[in-house]
């Protein structure tokens, strides 16, 4: 198995979750994903429509109370080993929305984040750097170099 995974480098599939974002990061993610100018597929990644196929998940938005459980459910559906990327300052720290009555973030209160890409919104190239970093972590996890086993990574609701 190890030999096989050494020879064959798999391609991570990307999935994005909007956790109550203002659209900025989502539009930039769509731009990064879907148009030839940024062409994320060059990095050996592609977007998929189902969390069950995903390897790298990109989360935007400050995590509102109303999406919290839905986001967590979708996140749990993604098979291990997965890598979580927080895109924009909102999921990382709450950004300008921190302290709002329906803000549940920062997202690492609930979900173990691996990569942060701050910006408001980050430019597509910056998002691509984040994806590259996430891909590296993901490959390390596949090869057992980096931690990230199921038992260590749990999500709990308060």
């Amino acid at each position: 198995m190890n030999l096989f995974s050494d020879i064959v480098v798999r391609s991570p599939w990307l999935y994005r979750i909007n956790a109550g974002s203002c659209n900025g990061c989502d539009v930039e993610l769509a731009t990064t994903a879907c148009i030839p100018r940024y062409d994320v597929e060059r990095l050996g990644c592609r977007y998929c429509g189902s969390p069950r196929h995903a390897d790298i998940v990109l989360i935007t938005g400050p995590l509102t109370l109303r999406v919290r459980d839905k986001v967590l459910r979708v996140w749990q559906e993604i098979p291990e080993p997965k890598v979580t990327v927080a895109v924009g300052i909102c999921p990382i720290s709450g950004g300008v929305f921190r302290g709002g009555h329906s803000i549940e973030g920062p997202i690492d209160r609930y979900i173990p984040v691996d990569v942060n890409v701050p910006g408001c919104p980050p430019r597509p190239q910056s998002i691509m750097e984040g994806v590259l970093l996430a891909k590296k972590i993901w490959l390390d996890r596949l090869n057992g170099i980096a931690p990230g086993h199921k038992e260590e990574r749990h999500v709990s609701l308060p």
């Binding site: 060059r42 300052i89 990382i92 173990p112 984040v113 597509p124 190239q125 750097e129 984040g130 970093l133």
Partner: protein, 177 residues
Amino acid sequence: MFRFLKLLGKNLAQGPSTDPFPAKEAHTPERFRGRVVVNPEQCVGCRICHHMCAGGAIRIEDNEEKTGYNFTVWHNTCALCGMCRHYCPTKAITLSTDWHNAHTQEDKYDWAAHYSIPYLACAGCGAHIRMLPPQLAARLYAHSPVDMTDLLKLCPSCRQLAAARREEISNDTHEQE
């Protein structure tokens, strides 16, 4: 068919529209609003940036010995809006064009710029102050006939006194002439 060939020719001539990043460095416009950078020389600690910051990314607090203050910008909550830069009276804050921001979770709280800015002792009374930056002094004393450059190292009250005294003397000499 002919139209198709024309289009093909046009597209071939145009070259690929794909941005070469990450194989090559991406083009960054001069005005790009990237990470906040503070010039400690220029900072007078007026806190207007802190007042303007909607993301709560700036923290200014005296150090333990009270000999200066620590100025911290946490990039992970900075909205890059440029309000701090716009309202900084001494232009101590700039936004760099650096957008290489992706980092791992271990670095989340390290993703900050820390500046340690010392107070000076007022040449008059010895109180802890920040030196008045020359540009700001030039604006404050724009209408004064006297050279005020050596007043910069005084605290506001000492400086006021000194400035008033000098203008008085200068007026007197003018009258005598």
